[in-house]
Subunit: 112 residues, 2 copies
DNA sequence: CGTTTCTTCATCTATTGTGAAGAAATGCCG
DNA sequence: CGGCATTTCTTCACAATAGATGAAGAAACG
């Protein structure tokens, strides 16, 4: 019994947060760039679209097709936003984690 | 390029936190019970052991074989603890997420 | 056309999910 | 005392979902 809509994979969570951060510039390519920066490691563009599709199917994001822009390669983009359910899902995860690591023991100091 | 040792799957993160919480009672069966409670959904015992094996191979937990106890079915248990690397990994994830959702927009009120 | 930007697709590995089978201990009862 | 059901815990085989990768396809401009 998979796909409880309130439970997110780690990548999916980061992706939702990144969609929020990018606001009206949340489409595939910059999402991919931003995620690469956050993770400090290359993120293949295919992973991003696959995750977006999953999230859309679960109803956590919605997408709208933009218009083309008068720039070199200004092809139409597919923009993403969080749905109410998506936002709830992020809040839910946050509450859970905030609770669980309140009692997290501190890191021991490394000897110099 | 998988398995960056500092990046955790969502289940793995919960598992590490649960190992911390259970302390000297952190072995397969209670871990499974505790995770089921946290997630509010059944967790198969196989998933737990599989994740533990992964985490051990990545060096994030260590395990020691206990002795048998004088109880019905008091079979020897395999106890788990976080390594330094494991603790660092949790802290790392926490810092990242705490940063990312500082600007998280609040949930809209549902109309009654 | 060639180039640029963006998306879709096919394929592969890794993570997670599930339940049954296997080990190791105790307790009951002949 | 000896065997067998029972309990607790672990290992295993297999299925499904999530994530990773790079090449191919679409649509725009110069």
């Amino acid at each position: 019994m998979p796909s409880d809509p309130t439970s997110l994979g780690d990548f999916e969570l980061l992706l939702l947060l990144t969609v929020l951060r990018l606001g009206d510039q949340a489409y595939g390519v910059p999402l991919c760039r931003e995620l690469s920066a956050i993770r400090r490691r290359g993120v293949a563009v295919g992973s991003v679209y696959a995750a977006l599709d999953r999230l859309q199917q679960k109803g956590l994001v919605s997408s709208t097709l933009g218009e083309s822009t008068p720039e070199r390669g200004g092809r139409a983009k597919r923009f993403f936003r969080l749905t109410q359910a998506g936002l709830r899902s992020v809040h839910h995860t946050r509450r859970l984690l905030d609770t669980l690591w309140t009692a997290l023991p501190p890191l021991a100091e490394e000897p110099a």
